[in-house]
Amino acid sequence: MIRVQREDFDPARETQALVEGKHEIGGVVSFVGLVRDLASGGAISAMTLEHYPGMTERKLAEIEAEAHTRWPLAASLIIHRYGRLEPGERIVLVATASSHRDAAFEACRFLVDWLKTKAPFWKLEETPQGERWVEARAEDDRTAQEWAQPKSKPEAAE
């Protein structure tokens, strides 16, 4: 499930709703991304996330579908916010649920790594020196590239 929204979300409630009634699920892994008050260039007071409505949802759905082909997931959820956010605020929630923990852990990591480099979002930071667009990090590209070929073992034992 994909949601792109301006509003905040409640990670506990979202995770609960994701697994509700699905008793084949043995574990759910979630990642919550937050706005830091320190970026590579120094202090930031806020950031504004811009996105490409339409393409954003399409890319997130593709990435989610890819995770489901690689791991035996019972459920998954990606919520990504846009608009102006201050330090401490939630940006993104990725949650994956599966019968076994390995699939849930790996798929969650995969989704976070891929959405950082494939979903059309851009961050504009507010700093004491003025506004600055965040530059893509080569390290993020390399991390995403490591997932280019499936490497998981979906049938891994508990």
């Binding site: 991304g33 996330l49 811009e50 996105h51 490409y52 339409g54 393409m55 399409r58 990504h80 940006i91 993104v92 976070v112 959405l115 950082k116 480099t117 494939k118 979903a119 059309p120 979002f121 851009w122 961050k123 504009l124 667009w133 965040v134 530059e135 893509a136 993020d140």
Partner: protein
């Protein structure tokens, strides 16, 4: 053809969205970018370094040799920084 700009490409071109009819010889993404550079100093500045410009055609990432059709939606933006 509909063009959409995001992040600093929107700021430097001074344009969020526009309808354009490029000349007939503009048949692919590379030719479109070259033609756009000729449309003013803001465009030339925004497109000076194409290594930091990404292009999507009809909401899919596209390479420079991607062929264009008159009704396409073409988006120009920097490398993405979400998550």
């Amino acid at each position: 053809m509909k063009l959409i700009y995001f992040a600093w490409l929107k700021q430097r071109t001074g344009t969020a969205e526009e309808e354009v009819t490029p000349p007939k010889e503009v048949t692919d993404v590379a030719a479109l970018l070259e033609w756009l550079k000729s449309r003013g100093p803001g465009y030339a500045a925004a497109l000076r370094d194409l290594s930091v410009v990404r292009v999507a055609v009809n909401q899919e990432f596209a390479r420079l040799d991607h062929r264009l059709e008159p009704g396409d939606e073409v988006a120009l933006f920097p490398p993405v920084t979400g998550g």
